[in-house]
Structures are given as C-alpha cells and as structure tokens.
C-alpha cells in the first residue's frame, strides 16, 4: 500500500501528477493494469524511477480531480495486486479445467480415459460402505 512517504506529488506545471508505488509491494504489471483503467479519464504513463514504480497521470478535463483519480488508482492497484496473488495460485488449475472441458479425453483422471462406462472401476455404482464392517475397504462392497 502507498504510505505517507509515497503520497502523490502535487501537480507539476504541465499538469502531471506522479503517484509512487513501492516495488516491494506492487508488481509493475499490477500498476500497469490499474493505470490502464484510467486511460479514459487521464493521460497515463508508468515508469521505473530509481527502482520505484511511478504512475504519471494528467487529467483529460479540468473537471477531473487529480486527488480523486489518485485515490481511485491506489484502490485499483490493490485490487490488481490481489488478482496477481489469485492468478499465481489458480493459473494451472484454470488451464486444467478448460483443457478438460474442451477435450475429448479425461484430463482430470487419465486412468478413466479408455475405460468402458459399464466397467465402473471406481466402484461408484456399488452399494455404500457398511459401518458394521471395519475391514471393508473404500471401494469394496459390504460383507453379506
């Protein structure tokens, strides 16, 4: 999160506002994605300056408040950073699910790909476990 020491600089003469982001907290990709969302309201550039990420904003209209833009950019950058965390953990399973959805084969459990549906290798169609039989294995039928 942007700290007090990272407050945006006041507008320069040409109207640009510089919004700093600590690179230890934000990725440049998150800042880029966040900044993109403001490109209809401001001119935007993102750059690295002495190892720090800086978003430069210049409002497109005089009605647009630089303070509001900056606050909204901070919140959006937080969301983008959260999305990166989420994407890191879920990218591979996303690929797996979509691949499985669009594939003719069973990518989730390859053993089942060529199995006859009537064979029931996982015992799905068999009666439930009997609690009276302590020796029954997971897929075995209850003892008569």
């Amino acid at each position: 999160m942007a700290s007090e020491s990272q407050s945006p600089t006041p507008p320069e003469e040409d109207g640009w506002i510089v919004v700093p982001f600590a690179k230890e907290v934000y990725s440049i990709n998150a800042v880029l994605k966040a900044a993109y969302r403001f490109t209809h309201r401001a001119y935007v550039k993102v750059e690295l300056n002495n190892g720090q990420i800086e978003a430069h904003l210049r409002p497109k209209t005089t009605e647009e408040s630089g303070v509001t833009l900056t606050r909204e950019l901070f919140n959006e950058a937080l969301d983008q950073q959260l999305r990166e965390t989420l994407a890191r953990e879920t990218q591979s399973v996303r690929d797996l699910i979509l691949g499985h959805a669009l594939s003719e084969t069973n990518l989730l459990d390859a053993e089942l790909t060529d199995v006859d549906s009537g064979a029931d290798p996982l015992g799905i169609g068999r009666p439930a476990l009997s609690f009276r039989d302590p020796n029954s294995s997971q897929h075995s039928a209850p003892t008569p």
Partner: protein, 484 residues
Amino acid sequence: MTGLAPSFGGASEFLDPQYELLPFRFMRLDEGRYVATNLAGDYLCLSREQLAAFIEKRLPANDRLLNDLEARQFLRRGYDLAPLELLAAQYRTQQSQRRWFTSLHLFVGTLRCDHSCQYCQVSRAHDAAAGYDMTPETADRAVDLMLEGPSPQLKVEFQGGEPLLNFPIVERIVRRTKAQAEGRFVQFVVATNLALLDDGKLKFFSQHGIKVSTSLDGPRELHNRNRPRPGRDAYEATLRGIQRCREQLGHESVSALLTCTADSLRQPEAIVDEYVAQGFRSIFLRHISPYGFAARSQQRIGYETEQFLEFYRRGLARILWHNQQGYPLRETYASILLNRILTTAPPGYVDLLSPTGLGLNCLAYDYDGDVYASDEGRMLAQMGDDSFRLGNVHQTRWRDLFLESELLTIADETMTEGMPGCADCAFQPYCGSDPVFHHVTQGDRVGHRPSSAFCRRNMEIMRHLIRSLEDDACAARILRQWAL
C-alpha cells in the same frame, strides 16, 4: 438415538482447514461490496475485507463464507476432483452450441421499405425503387450455402427492408430450406412492420409455422413520430397486423421490439404500459445502434449512454411493478443476461459471445448475394465500409467464408478472455466483445474498454441486475423466473 454428543462441534470440525483457490474474477459492485464470479459464471457478493481474507487464506475454517465459496466452486479442499469436474462440465455446457457452428441466418430479400424511420438501422430503398430485390438465383444459392453448414438447428430470419415487399422470395427460401434441410430443426421468423400483411401471407405463415417479429416503439404519438409512412398510420397498421397474426397464428406467434430514441427517453413508463395494453408478455428495451440511417441521424435522435441507462432502469422498474400487480412481462435483454448469470444454459445472443458470434453464430445474406458476418456488418457496408464482408453466395464456398476472410483473425483478437479491460472483469463470463460496434465507434474492433459505450452500458445493466437480485427480494423473485 439421544442426539449428538455434547462434544460435537458442528460439521466444520470435519472440514479440512486448508483449501486451494479455484480460478475466479472479481470487481467492485458498489461502495461496500465486490462481486466475484467463478469460471462458469456463478457469482457471489462479498466485502473487500472478506475477499482479501479469502485470497490470502486468513478466513477461519469454520467461517460460513467458506461454505458458500466452496458450494460455488471458488475453492476446493483436499485435492477433491469434483469441483473441477463440475466447473468443466458447466463450461462445456456453455460452449456446447459452438461446436455446431453457425445457426442464425439472416436473409435480406429486399432493401425496399414503405416506412422511412429516422433511426432505421439499414440503408433502405424507396418501396418502388428497382434493383434492390434478391433474385431467385441468389436466394437459391444463399440457401444452399447455408445448408453446407453443419448446424442441426437453424434459425432463418427475414430482415429488410420490408420482407413483405418481396414475398415471393420469402416463400422460395422457406420452401427450399424445408425441402433440403434433411431432418434439421429449422425455425423461421419474419421481421416486418405488418403494414402489408394480407390473408395470403398469413396463410403461408400458418402453413409453415413462421413466427412474426414486429416493431412497436410505444404509444401512438411516439410510434408514428419514430416510424413515419404515407398516411401517418404506422401505429394503427401495426396493431391491426398484430391482431390478425394472433387470431390466425396464435397469441405467442408475434413478438415486438422497440428502438429507444431521444423522444423515448422521457417516457419509459408509457412505453411499458403500451406493451401491457397490447397484451405482450415481453419487451426489449433496446438502445439505438450506430449503423445505417441511425448514424446519419445521430445528432437528431441520439443520446448518451447515461441517458439510456436511466431510461432502462426506469423501464425495468415499471416492468417489475406490472409483474407485482399480476401481469407477467419480461424484459428481453435482462432475460438474456439473467440466463447467463443464473444458469449454465448455452448463450445465443450474438453480441454477448466470446469468441465473437460474428460469422461463427450468425451470417447475413444481402439482397445482392454478399455475405456478412452479422446484420450490423451488412449495415456498415451500406455506409461504405465492407470490413465485415465475408464473400458472395455466387463466388464463395462455405469453408472460404471463414478461412479465406478476416473472420478467424477477428475472433482470435477479440476474445474477451484475453482482452485488456475484459480479462479481469467479473462480468466476463456474461459478456462479449461486439467487434462491429467497436470498429464503428472507436475505429478498432478490439476497442478501448474504459471509454467503450458497449462496456459502460453492459456493466451498469449487469450491476443493476445483481444488486436487484441481492437487495430486493421482491424483484429477485421475479427476475429469477426470467432466467428459466
């Protein structure tokens, strides 16, 4: 049985406290809430703090929110395969119609029209003009081309111009299609202003199970102002036609839709009331499109997106009010979106598909044999821009419509799953890319989402529907029925 042991602490005791995130998207719904959607589009509303705690795995194992998230496949525990199977099955179901390729085929039998509507989305010709009718040879070739496609379900829609001005071509296309469709399921729809309806045409509609789609813009004064014709009786002619269709073909055989002009913006309640007075069960609150004559009349009849959204919200409120009074009336666009939000049914609305529905779901055959990726692409060509022309029925083979045109490139570069502004959007599972709209309005078929009127309009309508589902139990009860 004496009940559960006092030490029993609830089902959460048996839950694996560890969980794995499953893919989802999220974004701000309003000041206090975020909306998150899973890979198949199931949604959940939660606070920013809950969202962050969930992603950062700070939620306690017995938190009820985790149960909700698990039930909607936002997480899984213990490498359980069931949530993955379920998400894949839902996603596959949503995409299931894409394997059959194009199902909607639009035929323009004539460009001529007896109306001179100021917003007309096509470049019409005067009703007595020559050279704007489809010839029998072109019609036959268009039908043959359509039937080269693999889809087992076809929807043949007659657009115009006014199709009834060249009715022999309508008859020819229907008969040829039915004769050669070989067991496919075919629906026919004629989009007509009904002014030229007569007994012979009605009999043909009845014999071949043809549905009728007409335009009703609202009360008499508004309708006649929007849709001028000689005699200034468009409203009366339309109502007479609706009545005759209902008597001959059944009440549900005719549907109507409206185009919202600047004049309409002031009176959404009166427009909705008109639909109720005329006995319709659905109404489509359509914004004006930036094509054909509508583009040229933009200054006179156009409006801003925010104005349309206010119109839409007021219109929807009126529709819900009628439902509460006991009159069942659906808003068509809300129904399309609710179907996406609340079910896994395959979507069919061309504007809201990814990959785009252009060509892949819809083809338009113009009166001169030119084939377009959509009706909007055809309208654009009438304005001098043939960017979405795929070929001509006399020169182009079926496979070349897709493989020798720009179509696959367009489909590839406009997939919302990878587009800036769309890839992270929580509404991505419900939305589409509409390359023609962005080509026209932004000069780029991918488009710039932050300034896109398409994006703004759809985002706000979806937000409004989800807020209604979450915050208004009475509205939610009605809206949930629209998704069925």
